[in-house]
């Protein structure tokens, strides 16, 4: 058991089974769907309220995504701790500025380039999740497991734009 926990990387099927069980348990116990992107909006709403309350004074923050320390924020916190524990156990944990060998090989070692792309990508991603009503975890999996049509529309759309984006970025190396 310990050996398994210390393994650097599981088969995606095994990790998928674990996550599937997490979803089942969370639904059985309290009908909470594990979401990741919602937390940023809850925290963002809090920040908006603190800095410029008018920004938070709209329908979206009033009814769709109320600001505050919600269960989504707790899930996000748990995700960070869980990933940290997993990485620590396998000795995979390290602090990096340019994260990935593949990125370095294709786009060079420039730090700001990676950070700018990461930052802008994050904004685009969160914006899209806000419009669609969820991200990969909350909508695609959390909705898909109830066979919600919205989840499958979302997954299809995600790949419809993701593939050309990757093609463009990797141009000749695709």
């Amino acid at each position: 058991m310990m050996k398994l926990l210390k393994q650097k990387e599981w088969s995606p099927y095994l990790a998928g089974i674990l996550l599937g069980m997490v979803y089942v348990v969370s639904i059985v116990v309290s009908y909470i769907i594990t979401v990741a992107s919602g937390a940023f909006e809850n925290i963002g709403g809090l920040l908006a309220q603190a800095v410029y309350p008018n920004l938070a004074n709209n329908t979206y923050f009033k009814f769709v995504m109320p600001p505050g320390i919600t269960t989504a924020v707790m899930i996000l916190l748990g995700i960070i701790i869980g990933a940290f524990v997993s990485a620590k156990l396998s000795g995979d944990f390290k602090l990096q500025i340019v994260s990935d060998p593949q990125w370095k090989r294709v786009f060079g070692t420039s730090i700001w380039k990676r950070w700018v792309v990461l930052f802008i990508g994050g904004i685009i991603l969160e914006f899209g999740a806000g419009i669609a009503g969820g991200c990969t975890s909350g909508l695609a999996i959390g909705g898909g497991l109830f066979l919600a049509p919205s989840a499958f529309i979302f997954i299809a759309a995600m790949f419809m734009s993701g593939i050309p984006t990757a093609m463009l970025m990797y141009w000749r190396k695709y």
């Binding site: 995606p12 069980m21 990508g121 685009i124 909705g143 734009s161």
Partner: protein, 93 residues
């Protein structure tokens, strides 16, 4: 209060599973869009299948009721998904 702590624990499991699947890494996310490493899809679809079977089995046994599913809003889901995909493939997380 229980919900808060319970959410934290579920988040722990979520983060752990994702890290173990290697999804914290840039190359895993981007390569699924280049069809060179389908770990993300394998992981996502396994999760979906396991959760689906679990939830619907428990529902059939009458132990749990199904919660409200996310509303279908074609334009929103589609446009949101399209924007999301650009961010996901670009940033790689």
């Amino acid at each position: 209060m229980f919900e808060m702590i319970f959410s934290l624990v579920m988040g722990l499991g979520f983060g752990f599973a994702l890290q173990k699947a290697g999804l914290g890494k840039y190359n895993k996310i981007v390569n699924v869009f280049r069809f060179t490493d389908l770990a993300v899809l394998k992981f996502m679809m396994t999760t979906l299948a396991v959760a689906m079977v679990g939830v619907f089995a428990l529902n059939t046994l009458g132990w749990i009721a199904l919660p409200a599913i996310p509303a279908t809003y074609l334009v929103g889901n589609l446009v949101g998904g399209l924007i999301f995909g650009v961010g996901m493939a670009g940033a790689g997380f």
